[in-house]
Symmetry: C2
Amino acid sequence: MLTLRHLAIDTVRENVAFLNRRCTRYHVEDFLGLGRVEVRNDGRSLLAVLNIVDDPAIVAPDEIGLSDPAFGQLGLAEGSAVHLVPPTPPESFELVRAKVGGAALTDDQLAAIIRDVTDQRYSKIEIAAFLIACASFMTTAEVLGLTRAMIAAGTRLQWEGLNGVSGGTIADKHCIGGIPGNRTSMIVVPIVAAHGLPIPKTSSRAITSPAGTADTMEVLANVDVPVERMQALVREAKGCLVWGGHVRLSPADDILISVERPLAIDTREQLVASILSKKVAAGSTHLLIDIPVGPSAKIRTASEAVRLRKLFEHVGDRLGLTLEVAITDGSQPVGRGIGPVLEARDVMAVLRNAPAGPADLKERALLLAGRILEFDPAVRGGSGNRRARDLLESGAALAAMEHIIAMQGPPPAVAALGSLVAEVASPADGVVSSLDCYRLARIARLAGAPTDKGAGIDLLRKVGERVRRGEPLYRIHASTNADFTFAQAFAAENSGVAVA
Amino acid sequence: MLTLRHLAIDTVRENVAFLNRRCTRYHVEDFLGLGRVEVRNDGRSLLAVLNIVDDPAIVAPDEIGLSDPAFGQLGLAEGSAVHLVPPTPPESFELVRAKVGGAALTDDQLAAIIRDVTDQRYSKIEIAAFLIACASFMTTAEVLGLTRAMIAAGTRLQWEGLNGVSGGTIADKHCIGGIPGNRTSMIVVPIVAAHGLPIPKTSSRAITSPAGTADTMEVLANVDVPVERMQALVREAKGCLVWGGHVRLSPADDILISVERPLAIDTREQLVASILSKKVAAGSTHLLIDIPVGPSAKIRTASEAVRLRKLFEHVGDRLGLTLEVAITDGSQPVGRGIGPVLEARDVMAVLRNAPAGPADLKERALLLAGRILEFDPAVRGGSGNRRARDLLESGAALAAMEHIIAMQGPPPAVAALGSLVAEVASPADGVVSSLDCYRLARIARLAGAPTDKGAGIDLLRKVGERVRRGEPLYRIHASTNADFTFAQAFAAENSGVAVA
C-alpha cells in the first residue's frame, strides 16, 4: 500500500503517476518496463503512465503522486491508501492492434475504443497508435462508425421549444480553416438570426492561427458562456457566438485532437469525424461546411476539395444531417485585418455597411448566409443570397449582432489596436501577385496575436492591386517591443507578399 | 527569460519541461496547444513535452523545470537563464507523415528519422506514429534501411586481436523468446567457448517474463560488466554471459522499444530490425536465431515462422552477416524450472551431466550449439551436434562455464530457492496434454520472479507424462506471503496445465 498524494502538475489530458525510485513496497523496475501502473483502492481504479521521482519532497518512498487530472479522475482523498498492480491495458486496444494489422472495424468496435479513450484509459502513445492506424487506412463505413461513437460518448444539446421560422431546424456553419481574416461567422450568424433561423454558433480559440472566431468575438462581447445561458440566449436572440469550451460535446474528439495537433497529421477522415461529431452533438440539423481552396490553404486543389466534400456529404447524410458544402476561394486572406481587433473592425464595418468595409469578406459572408437561408423551406430556391443581402444592407443583421452582443455581455477587457506600428514596403513597382496565408499568419502570431488581441497585420494591398516601390504593403501592429521586433525581423526575411 | 531548474523526475526516455501556470514571461496557452516547447540558450536547444505546474514549490513562475534526462541533455547549469520558443518539430517528422500517407522511405530518409530519434528530438507520440506507420506497411528494403540506420546511430564493438579458432569469426545467438525456462544460452555459450570460437553474449533482464538470461546468470555470477571488462573477458575465456545494459549498441532501438513495449505491437519487420541492429553493432559476424513455435509462443504457426526466417535471412545477408535460423519446438516450457534460481539449477545440472538434468534443455542446447560450431570451417558439415555433445559430456563445457563465472566474479547476492512452497495437484488421472507457456510465466511472475530470484515454478510433469488425480503437477516457490498468496490464487483459477 502507498499513500496517495495530489501533485499540482497538469499532464495535459494524460494520467501520470509519480513513484519514488526508492519505493520499498513495490519493485519499481517491474512497472517501469511496462511504462504504466494501475492504481487501485476498493472498487476504484486508474491507469496511469509512470514517471520516477528521486526527490522525496515531490514524492516520498511510501507515496504515490498523481498528476492533477489523474487525481481528479481516481476521485479518492489525498492520504488514501492505494495498491499498485501491473497495468491491464484497455481491452479495446486489441482492436487497435487489429486495425494496425489491416482490419476494418465495426461500429461496436469503434464505440468500445472511443469509450475507453473518453474514460482516459488510453495513454497518449495508444491514442497516437489509433490515429495513425486510422490515417493509414479507413473505410467510409469506419468514418461513420467513428463519428457515431464520438457523438455517443458525450452529451448532446437539446433545442426543444425554440421558436424558429422553421419548426425544429437548427442551422450551423463550419469552416475547415486555414485562411487568415476569414471571420464570416460573425456576419453570417447575425444575418441568419435576423431571418429568424436559430443558429447557435460555438467556436474555438486560435491554437496555431492568429485568431479564432472566439478570440475575435471576445473583442466585442463576452464569449465565456455556460451551456444553459447559451440556450437561453439563442431562445431570445436566435443566434450566439460563444466559445465552445463549456460544452462537453464529443469529448473524445478533444482528446484525439490533443494528440493529433502536435503530430500535425490531419486526414480527411479524421477531419470529417471530428467536425460532424461536434455538430451533431451540438444539436445542429442543417449544416453548411466551408472549404477554402488555395495554394497556402489547408486544401490545395479543387480535386482534393471535391473528395472532402463527398465524404462530408456521405457521412452527413447517414447521420440525418441536412448538409451543404461550399468550396470557396482560399488563395489569400479575407478582409484587411489579421488578428482579433483588426478582424473585429472588418466585421463591424461590413455589418454597418461602411463604404470602407472589405468587399471580399462581405460577399463571402453573403454567399454562405444565402445558402443557409435556403435551408428555410419558405425561402425560394436561388433567392437566399438576395435575402441575405437585404438583411445585411437594411441594418437588420447589425441589429441582430447588437442584440447578441448585449445578451452575451461586455468583453472581459477592452482591447485596443497595438500602438507599435511598422509598415512593410513593396520592394518594386507592380501588381500584388500573391499573399502567403501561412507566412502572414505566422507574422501576425509573432506580433502577439491572438493572446495580445490588438496585435496583428493590417493588409493595405490585396492580390491584383497596384503598388509602387516603397509604398506600404501592410502594417504590423504590436504592443510589446519583443513581439514587435520578432515580427518585423520575420517579415524582413520574407514578407509573404509577392509583387510582379 | 526563465531560470532553469533541475527536477529529480525521470520521465523515462522522454524530455519533459514543467512550466508554472502563472508564468508571466510567456503565454503558457500558446505552448500548451502545441504540446511542446523548445528551450534555448546560446547555441543549445532542447525540444520537450510540456507539463503545467500549479505548485510553486515544484516550479516557480519565473522558472522552467526540466526532467532528469532532459536536464542532462540540455547540458546547462541549474540557474542558467533560458528562452522558450515555439517548438520546431524535427524536420524528419515530415518523412513520417509521408510514410503514414503510404510512401516507402529511402535509406537516407530512415537514417534522418533514426538520428532525430536517437537525439531524443521525437516525443513518444511521434515515435508511436513512426512505429505504427511502419507496422502498417514496410517494404523489405525499408527493414534493411532501418536496420542500417539503427546500427549507424550507435557505437559498434570491435573485436580485433581475438584469438579464436577461426580468424575474425564472432559467433552469437539470439532467441526471439516467449518460452519459459528456455535458458539454452547458458549451455551453448560454454560449449562454443570450449571449442574456441569467441561468443560474447549480452542478454537482457526480464521485462514481462519470469526470467531473462541476465537474471538467471546473475544467480551464478556478476553480470553487470562494463564494456572494456567484457572485451578483456572474452579475450581470455572466449565467451561471456553479461547484461547488455552497459553497451550503447543501437540506442535508437532502446528508444523505439520503450514505446513499442507498452503498445505490445510487435511486427516481424521491427523484430528483425531490432535484433539485427543490436547484433551487428555488437560486432557479431555469425549469428544463429532461434524461433520457437507453439500455440502459446510468440510465433504460433510454422508458416509464420518461415516468413520470419526469410526476412531474417534476407536482411542478414545484405548486412554481411552469416546467419542461420533454427525453428524449434515452442509448445511447452523447456526444462523443469521457471524463475532464475530454478532455471540456473537446470542449466548447471545439464553442464554437470547430472542424470536428473532435463533432457529437453540439453538436446535443444546441443542442437543450437552444433549449428553454431558448424560456423567454424574446420568442423565438418553435419558433425556440429556430435562435437557439441563431446564438449558437453566430456566436462569441457562445464570447465568453460566455471572459467566464465570466475572471470565475471561472484553474484551481487546469494540467491536461495523460495522457502514458501505449494504444490498444484492434478484434477484427474491421465496424461498431461498441454502446458500454457503464457499462464505459467504469469504465475511465476506473481510468485515474485524475476525480482525475487528464488521465486518461480518447478514443473514436475511435462507434456506426455502420466499423472494421477491428486499428484502434484508443479510446485510454486515464493519468499513473501503476499506473492505466495497471489500466485496460488491465480493458479487455482487456472493452473495452465491440461490433463486428458
